[in-house]
Amino acid sequence: MTAILERPGPPGPPEPLSERARRRAELTTKDRVVRGGLAVAGIIPTAALLFLTYQMVRQAIPAIRFNGWHFFQTKTFNLGAQYGNPVTRHGEQALPKAQFGVLAMLFGTVVSSLIALALAVPVSVGGAILLVEKLPARVQNVLGVFLELLAGIPSVVFGLWGVYTLGPVLHRTVFRWISDIGIPWFDGRTGNGQGLASASVVLAVMIVPIIASITRELVRSVPVISKEGAVALGLTPAESVRFVTIPYVRTGVVAAAVLGWARALGETIAVLLISGNAVTIPHSVFDPFTTMAASIAALLDGALQDSTGMDVHALAEVGLVLLGVTMVTNFAGRLLTRRFSDAGLPVGRGV
């Protein structure tokens, strides 16, 4: 400011300052100090992400060397025998009988999250459309609380609910009916209600609020004029949804689904409790399974006992694959959301 005032201005039009010089001149010394301090804070989230990625890669490198490509071809994940001489492969030591493969976990992660997505998307979209198009604003606000509550329920509480309430109920009813039909992959014993199917249902419940709340905002933003056009043409409300609302929100719903998917991929504790926790590729949807995130939580305790340290590194490799998969889905989701809204939506985990 002062710099501008003190500048000896020649009569006539002042010389144009460069954009950069002008911006500098507008800031006092105190402003610059404040800006510096805030800039440091501004970099912290980015720095944290880079640090996480760097550490993950660094921790995983010994395991990557030890496992090679077998990591993506092996279904078993065995921490190895505690007592015995360490074996050496590719210059890296590990416990005897240790075998690290991500295949079963990767399968479990992808399949459970996809089933969850298939269940959650139609329900969320239907619910959101009903909420916005049919119910009065006052009721909308009250019912919005359900979405917030559902988004905020701790995942361990979802686990508790899945183990004691949802799992047994599904096991006694729906699962048994489906199993009796006898479609391949949807048949066989339904176990005790813990397994791929129950975990997918719980995951679906957990991602519904993400997809539904974005869809709700999208449906609200459909231009009134287009809806009036639909009414003028004599369309029924359902047809208006089909020909006006759905085309308008389609891209946004896809983006919301991708964000929800990323959440389902990374979910840990709820899945750990309901999955039955078995590192195998399930033979039917009712069999126990595991995911990458749940395995890390389940196995880290045991892995800490390994004197060669390879178990911990192998879990880092699992984490790295998980981080890669979620980052790719997140990138995709953010790029899609950017296409239809300028302020990226603050969703991804909880509330």
Binding site: T46, G126, V157, W161, T236, A238, A293, G344
Partner: protein, 281 residues
């Protein structure tokens, strides 16, 4: 023909209603189920005894302590970062910082927990500690605070900015005296969301805070911290009805904290909306 269209319409809305019920039912069912299972354990001893006895006093205090830590660490850094992105950063660098912050929001919590364990607990020799737990949680929730702060500041009407510039106010004074007070309710509601997430997280704490039967202390290093979600998790797998009830009771208390935070968030965001409406003429 006309009847068929009307029928389709009915069927469509019936299906939407069903979808809506499917959304609403779980949230009711979760609460009823948790309350039902926690019933045998409910009583004042929950608040007066620790987990060695019949209560979960230490876990409640520990969770509150962690929330305080998150408010201090993630709150200060996140709000400052959000202010920087909204007011000072420009062009490409701002876009990059914003993008990475959003990607951080999507990072699986167990990855944050793992790195917290490997670096903070082991490499830095902090042990299972309050500081490691608070940092892990803070990294997890910081992106939300950054985002809501940025959005709240962006919603401050341009006329106010122009007014302060016209009066010759320095940028920092304009920020502190004019822009921040207007954006405050929005920022606070972001903080409340961050606290709500922190209350329910377990994965990042499992290997940084560990667990403890004692009341938490304020010492930052080498002391395990008890917290509610861990009680839910560990007591769930212990045999016996009593543990199952304690587990559900801990879940119930964390749900109660959550409900309080959601109510607070609603009040604040309502205030933020009115603030914006009043300011934009």
């Amino acid at each position: 023909m006309r009847r068929r269209r009307r029928l389709t319409d009915r069927v469509f809305w019936a299906l939407c209603g069903l979808a809506f019920l499917v959304i609403a039912a779980p949230s009711v069912s979760v609460i009823v189920s948790v309350f039902h299972q926690a019933f045998p354990a409910l009583g004042w001893q929950l608040f007066t005894q620790t987990t060695t006895g019949q209560g979960i006093q230490n876990a409640i205090l520990g969770t509150l302590l962690l929330l305080l830590g998150v408010l201090i660490v993630a709150g200060s850094v996140g709000v400052a970062a959000g202010v920087y992105l909204a007011e000072y950063a420009a062009g490409r660098s701002a876009a990059v910082l914003r993008f990475f912050s959003e990607v951080l929001a999507g990072t699986p919590s167990i990855v944050i927990g793992y790195i917290g364990y490997v670096t903070l607990v082991v490499e830095f020799h902090w042990g299972y500690s309050l500081l490691a737990a608070v940092l892990a949680l803070s990294v997890l929730v910081m992106p939300y605070i950054v985002k809501t702060t940025e959005v709240a500041l962006r919603q401050v009407p341009t006329t106010l900015r122009e007014g302060t510039a016209g009066l010759g106010m320095p940028r920092s004074a304009s920020l502190r005296r004019v822009l921040m007070p207007v954006a405050l309710p929005g920022i606070m509601s972001g903080l409340v969301v961050a606290l709500a997430i922190s209350t329910g997280e377990l994965a990042p704490l499992l290997f940084t805070a560990n667990a403890s039967d004692q009341d938490p202390s304020f010492s930052l290093f080498h002391h395990s911290v008890p917290y509610l979600t861990n009680v839910v998790y560990t007591d769930l797998s212990l045999p016996g009805r009593r543990y199952r009830a304690t587990s559900a009771a801990a879940g119930l208390i964390s749900l109660a904290i959550l409900v309080i935070l959601i109510a607070l968030g609603r009040i604040l965001s309502g205030r933020a909306r009115r603030q914006t409406a009043r300011m934009s003429l």
